[in-house]
């Protein structure tokens, strides 16, 4: 799953898609996940980072991440023409 390369993410969690002008605000954990996705981290790497640092478990986080990624896809922030990495 790749976040589009040109997506801009600010330190305050403001996400800007320069291709279509859409902008969104995300909370700190959303920002952290998008950052990791931008860095090319795999789902497993993200999961292990979040489970280690926050009070959650594998199953809950997997479900939440699935929902979050679905939302990013709907918001047109995810590459669709490239082969998925993970």
């Amino acid at each position: 799953m790749n976040i589009k390369k040109n997506i801009a993410l600010s330190d305050t969690g403001f996400v800007f898609n320069p291709s279509n002008g859409d902008s969104f605000s995300t909370n700190p954990i959303g920002m952290e996940i998008i950052k990791m996705l931008k860095e090319g981290k795999s789902t497993d790497e993200i999961k292990s980072h979040v489970v280690k640092n926050y009070m959650t478990d594998d199953t809950t986080f997997e479900r939440d991440l699935y929902d979050f990624v679905n939302m990013l896809t709907k918001m047109n922030l995810v590459e669709t023409d490239e082969k998925k990495k993970d």
């Binding site: 801009a8 320069p18 279509n20 002008g21």
Partner: protein, 350 residues
């Protein structure tokens, strides 16, 4: 660097809810690094706000409506020139362009006034009624469209179009109709204002993206900035917009300018579908009212147009622009003394 002093006459001073491009064009010219401009406003109505914006417009003259024809426009411009010594005219209304295009050579020859307008052929070929043909010729996707001249033609539209469809005036106005009854309502409303024909265009779902651009008349794109409307008024006008990073849109603009050898400012109105396809809805043969966003993004298109008009020599194309710059319009109440209104109403100048 000492700036060259020039007198530029500009139309489109109607900075209203459906704004003309005059005021943003003037703001762009005021910010020119090469020209120190004196702005002569050319107005049609006495309540065009630009007439009273004295920090932007030095002097305004009323000019005859386009329906009065080229001769009365020429006579009036001749008088204005005798007082103001105009160097350049930048017309900004679709409806007046035909007359100015017709007068371009005469104004240059008789008064030394320069313009940088599309040719009559370019102006006509991108006309709403001819757009489908234009698309075929220049290999750009255009939604199917057809001209109608009477409400009697409305029932048969269902054989050619699927609802919703767009009902357009020949110069301005467009409404989306979901039923034949709505088509009839918009037909009457728009034709009463802008005359016939009415253009029926297939509605395409997607997000509206626009480009403001400038062609040098030799096929080169001097500048192009794409924008997505973020806030749209009930008249379909952008109240806020943001510059985009859209290579495909820029490439399409370059392709159209190259293929048509477009001369002057233009605005492309396009729809980007969910599948990433672009459909050309309209080509406006002049700068849009949001052209000042291009200046904010680092491309002063009106200044570049003046350079092209002044010497006709090569103007270097802009290579980049800022992405993610926004414009937001606002309304503002000018306080005007009755004397000023009286002057423009009775003497035709202020």
């Amino acid at each position: 660097m000492k700036r060259k002093r020039i007198n530029i006459a500009v139309t489109g001073l109607n900075a209203i809810d459906s704004p003309g491009p005059g005021i943003p064009v003037i703001r762009a010219l005021r910010e020119s690094k090469e020209f120190d401009v004196r702005i002569i406003g050319l107005s049609y109505e006495t309540l065009e706000p630009g007439i009273y914006m004295h920090d932007l417009v030095d002097k305004t003259y009323q000019i005859p409506f386009p329906s009065a024809g080229t001769q009365s426009l020429l006579t009036r411009l001749g008088y204005i020139h005798s007082v103001e010594n105009i160097d350049i005219i930048i017309p900004n209304f679709d409806a007046e362009l035909f007359n100015f295009i017709k007068l371009e050579e005469t104004l240059k020859k008789d008064f030394g006034i320069k313009m940088f307008l599309p040719t009559e052929n370019q102006f006509e070929s991108r006309h709403k009624a001819n757009l489908e043909e234009f698309g075929k010729k220049h290999k750009v996707k255009v939604p199917h469209s057809r001209m109608i001249f009477s409400v009697n033609e409305i029932p048969s539209l269902k054989n050619e179009f699927s609802y919703p469809l767009v009902v357009k005036g020949k110069f301005y106005d467009a409404s989306v109709a979901y039923t034949p009854e709505q088509v009839a309502t918009y037909f009457n409303k728009i034709s009463a204002k802008w005359g016939l024909p009415i253009i029926i265009q297939q509605f395409v779902y997607g997000s509206e993206v626009n480009v403001t651009a400038l062609g040098d008349g030799k096929g080169n794109t001097i500048g192009a900035v794409p924008m997505r409307k973020q806030y749209i008024t009930d008249k379909g006008k952008a109240w806020a917009g943001i510059s985009l990073d859209d290579k495909k849109l820029i490439d399409t603009t370059r392709k159209i300018i190259k293929s048509t050898k477009w001369r002057g400012g233009l605005e492309l109105e396009m729809i980007k579908t969910a599948e990433g396809e672009y459909y050309l809805l309209e080509i406006n043969p002049r700068f849009p009212a949001w052209v000042y966003l291009a200046v904010g993004c680092g491309q002063n298109h009106p200044e570049a147009l003046v350079k092209l008009a002044m010497n006709g020599k090569q103007v270097k194309p802009f290579k980049k622009y800022d992405i993610g710059k926004m414009f937001i319009r606002y309304s503002y109440d000018l306080i005007v003394g009755l004397k000023e209104f009286e002057k423009i109403s009775t003497l035709g100048e202020l």
